[in-house]
Amino acid sequence: MVETTQLNVRRRQRRPGAWLHVRRRHVGSWAFALNRLAGLGLVLYLILHLFVLSLLAKGPATWNDFVALAKSPLILPLDIILLAGILYHGLNGIRVALIGVGIGVRQHKALFWTLMLIAAVLLLLGTWGFITV
């Protein structure tokens, strides 16, 4: 008898976390994963921000109480993280948009590090601003 059964292969499985597996991957994968994490963080912040602004509708007293809390030094690191997220997502976004239409594809790594340098400078300036203003 000829055995004709096909190999019983496993179905190609879905790996929902694949984009987060950046160990041993190259800079483009790190950039993408970070971009997505920053984006998700910013969405959460946007929701939080809209919620916080609703305090404005409750009148001056509630709002001013909140502002007093927001001014506490404990919030400062959170502000810096927020700024870092915005700068990263925004500047890396410029790169994604540019290479996405075929501009600078071969130079995408150099582009990335240049933009990150700009992000770092702006982050420092911003932090200085948070502290002094």
């Binding site: 929902p16 997505r36 969405v43 404005l56 509708a57 709002w63 502002v67 915005i86 976004g93």
Partner: protein, 118 residues
């Protein structure tokens, strides 16, 4: 070359996502600089905010910003969900879900603005 094809939503959405992202860099840049640095000492007290919003250009600008940021965020979330390979019905649910949530967010923001202006 024959260019009669109508193209797909996918491409249009990608281009809109890129454009809205670039627009956000401008809008968010001004939003942050104005809110924190141009207004002396930053927008702090309730009175600060109300007087800031008394300028109609500011109102239009902030609402535009809200629309663009919500659009960009909604498309971003959609892209993350679509990457998980949802089936057709799930895709429809996602599309409607983010549309409704986006509109709610914008509607809420506009309502809030006018609440404050009084």
């Amino acid at each position: 070359m024959n260019t009669k094809r109508t193209g797909s939503w996918a491409g249009t959405l990608w281009i809109l996502q890129a454009l809205s992202g670039l627009l956000l860099i401008l809008l968010l840049g001004t939003h942050m600089i104005v809110n924190h640095f141009v207004v002396e000492g930053g927008l702090r007290t309730y009175e600060d905010v109300v007087s800031y919003l008394s300028n109609p250009i500011v109102v239009v600008w902030e609402i535009l910003f809200l629309i663009v940021v919500t659009f960009h965020a909604a498309l971003g979330v959609r892209s993350i969900l679509f990457d998980l390979g949802p089936k057709k019905t799930a895709r429809t649910v996602i599309n409607w879900g983010i549309t409704v949530l986006g509109l709610l967010a914008v509607g809420y923001g506009v309502w809030l603005t006018f609440q404050i202006i009084g």
